[in-house]
Amino acid sequence: MRYLPITENDKKEMLKSINMASMEAMFSVIPEEYRLKSLLDIPLPLSEMELMQHMEAIASQNSSDHNKKSFIGEITFRHFIPSIVGSLSSLPQFYTAYTPYQPEVSQGTLQTIYEFQSMMTNLTDMDLTNASMYDGATSAAEAMLMICTYKRKNKVLISDLIHPHVKEVLQTYANMNNIQLQTISSDEGSVSIAALENSVDKDTALFLVQSPNVFGVIEDFSIMAPILREKQIACGAIILESLSLGILRPPGHYGVDVTVGEAQSFGMSPNLGGPGLGFFSTRKEYIRKIPGRIVGKTTDDKNRTAYVMTLRAREQDIRREKATSNICTNHALCALMATIYLAGMGEVGLRKLAQWNVAVSHYAYDTLNDVPGLKIPFRKPFFNEFVVELGQPAENVAKKLESKGILLSGSNLSKSYPYLKNPMVLSFTELNHKEEIDELRDALKEALQ
């Protein structure tokens, strides 16, 4: 076995040197009744070549935007990934390292986390960002727990236009903490301000809102934030398409308490949904209540700049059941990818790319506008995706287009938003050329006839 360097002879000598009669004897601490008497029922080992062929066969049964045209987004986004991201993040000193508990041999990891925290803090216009979370939904759930603990209140208002996947995760976490979730209805594709004003009361800890929302519409924080501030209710923004931060004023600009979400757009492949990158940005007043790791800048014994994990006393390995969260391993390597990506795109590149996405999706908006049997229900500013209503069940339309080499979203939004007729979100990024969008128009025209 090529991964195992201990030879048969080593084994004999080593057993002898530790006065152990046999391998069996060494495992005799496990009660006999639990010792496996035969080998596990696992297929025969494959050589590297066989494994490669096997995996190629598996991969070839799948289609995605590498061999089809895709207009799917919502929770995971298709973007171009510059070569530097894969090349640098796959340096073995980065990806074969453990959590940076020994700072002297982990400055690479620690400094990149600090740089990640810095970039995300600037992007969101918040005060600080932690070292990363699992994904956008668990990050939103942790934000909810943090604010409820901080405010000692257990009522949370959530916008109905948070993506159903995120709403469901919030519900899972709320259930076990006796947090009461109340949905704020929408009005023409964005949060109903009247509903929000009618629902805020002194028991409310937090209002959570996603922007751009599930329909792709950009929410107006300049109206929502003051209403909440007046009632001393925290405001939490959820961003699933982080590239929108390349052009939109960040929620932090309007004074929200937390900005959380998914930063998979910054240099990570869709990976069938994981691993992506949860981020958690907040205000200074919450710093001792945040979940997860955070890296601080300091100096060493010779006054050289050094980075180290800090505020460790909040964490589970020290505070145990009183920790602010149980999170330990996060998505550090994904945070590294995002850091490399953002360093590469920079101030100008990220803005241009965001503008490009706006331009492409608005071309699509104009192009699809006159497809018979397709209706665009909301006429509000959007970033790179928008919802359409179809003359036929969305699932049927998706199937028809699939046979033409076009992939559309299979998320069942009609269940969550019954007031829309066969809704489907179409997503357009820099990867979608004009010609592809024309092709989509023609295919939809035919399918919806």
Partner: protein
């Protein structure tokens, strides 16, 4: 040698990006038509750096890191084994990495089949009836497991009654943190001098309020819980459940299975036992496994095999609900699947044998010098102690820092909490006898240095890019982000 922060390279006009001319010169007026000007931001706050600078910056930073590809990494409880290169290659195949989670199931039958087979492999390896692949990391698996336990007791009408989770004092910090997150009260179970659960103490704690116990087996002292049957019987007779923290599963691969020992819920750490890289702190992946009677409570979505191929299973009304935004950490699952197929049943068994042999070899050769407070045969890791060096003013931390000078990564310090000045050493099966021998030599040499020249240890490490950071300053003068002007 330190490396400047990325923002220090920034200069207006530098760039590491490229895009088609027509989009680069996009008309701002068009954009303003689509998105109101007042909704657009002024600055973003990112650096402007050229591509060669980005490459040098991160390559320099990488060189300031230590990884398993560089050398011995005996970090106890973390299972730093070799991360095979082929796994990285297969996980980055276009037909896998570019799959979108909202595609129609018919378009990724290959991926679903792979996940379905992986569930079966993990079920066979652990002896659990069903495996669920979604939790993102060990703590997330624990959280899902605790939610399942809670929901189960609610379902049988004991939700209010079963409020206590028993946790040994040697447990990982995530155990009490996870149980507390779902509202369980934590009661600590004492350990014997051998690091095992004190069954007599356990007996005094069992009552109708106990929902269950969270155990790591072998435990965090590297010792197998030989009384596991008695414990399982005690708890099951009391109507309580047993939770298995799979952090130390590497000792048991192909030898014994938590499912057979009576555990009701388990999690695995694929980024430990199953060779996937830690990535400097994730992404991990922590599938959970349950016995049949707990299946309805598993998170959703989940995969099923039907006559028409693989598809998503319908949500069970008793499910704890969704726990992830989009999917499991699929790329990590691909690497795990590739590793299991490469190892085969014999390879898995030999892996645990070598891991246990390596740990015992180190323990046996160092236990005289580094007091071995746990006087039992260890499994895949051993816990030594530096307490006998305190008379020279040397602590476990100083020994660890000195190990760095010899080009190796230190063991885990100060865990488990029950052993003073602990050095927790987990060599894994990836190490050759030569490596183990040189580590033993180094440890002996350091023991001598501690007596003759303790300063050498107290000031270590000597050759790293930076010395020991000032942690007090870091916490007092908090600087956790650079804000661009």
């Amino acid at each position: 040698m330190t490396e400047a922060m990325i923002y220090e390279y920034s200069k207006k006009g530098k760039r590491a990006w490229s895009m088609p001319q027509k989009y680069e010169n996009i008309n701002e007026n068009d954009i303003n038509q689509w998105i109101p000007k007042e909704w657009q931001r002024d600055k973003i706050g990112l650096p402007e750096v050229s591509e060669p600078e980005v490459v040098r910056h991160f390559t320099k930073l990488a060189s300031m890191n230590y990884g398993i590809d560089i050398g011995f990494y005996p970090l106890g409880s973390c299972t730093m084994k070799y991360n095979p290169k082929i796994n990285e290659v297969v996980a980055s195949m276009d037909g896998l990495k570019r799959l979108h989670p909202l595609q129609d199931v018919e378009t990724f039958q290959g991926a679903l089949q792979m996940m379905y087979e992986l569930k079966q492999f993990l079920s066979e390896i652990t002896g659990m009836d069903t495996i669920h692949l979604y939790p993102a990391a060990g703590a997330h698996g624990e959280l899902a497991g605790m939610m399942i336990a809670k929901k189960y007791f609610e379902d049988i009408g004991q939700g209010k009654q079963r409020k206590v989770m028993l946790i040994p004092d040697s447990a990982h910090g995530t155990n009490p943190a996870s149980a507390a997150m779902v509202g369980f009260e934590i009661v600590e179970v004492k350990s014997t001098p051998c690091g095992q659960v004190d069954v007599d103490h356990l007996k005094t704690l069992i009552n109708e309020e106990v929902a269950g116990i969270m155990l790591t087996n072998p435990n965090t002292a590297g010792v197998f819980e030989t009384d596991i049957k008695e414990m399982a019987d005690l708890l099951h007779q009391n109507g309580s459940i047993l939770y298995y923290d799979g952090a130390n599963m590497n000792a048991l691969l192909g030898q014994a299975r938590p499912g057979d020992m009576g555990f009701d819920i388990i999690h695995l750490n694929l980024h430990k036992t199953f060779s996937t890289p830690h990535g400097g702190g994730g992404p991990g992946s922590a599938p959970i496994g349950v016995k049949k009677y707990l299946e309805p409570f598993l998170p959703y979505p989940d995969i099923e095999k039907t006559d028409n191929g693989y598809s998503w299973k319908e949500k069970h009304e008793k499910s704890i609900g969704r726990i992830r935004l989009a999917g499991p950490n699929f790329a990590v699952l691909v690497k795990t699947y590739a590793w299991i197929l490469t190892m085969g049943a014999e390879g898995l068994k030999k892996a645990s044998e070598d891991a246990v042999l390596n740990a015992n070899y180190i323990r046996e050769h160092l236990k005289e010098i580094y007091k071995d407070s746990v006087a039992c045969i260890c499994m895949h890791e051993c816990v030594l102690s530096a307490s006998s060096f305190e008379k020279y003013g040397v602590k476990a931390k100083d020994i660890s820092k000195r190990i760095i000078d010899y080009g190796m990564h230190p063991p885990t310090n100060y865990f488990p909490l029950i052993i003073p000045e602990s050095l927790m050493i987990e060599p894994t099966e990836s190490e050759s006898r030569q490596t183990l021998d040189s580590f033993i030599e180094v440890m002996k040499k350091i023991a001598e240095e501690a007596k003759t020249n303790p300063e050498l240890l107290l000031n270590a490490p000597h050759h790293t890019p930076v010395g020991r950071p000032d942690e007090v300053k870091a916490a007092k003068d908090l600087d956790v982000a650079y804000i661009a002007e």
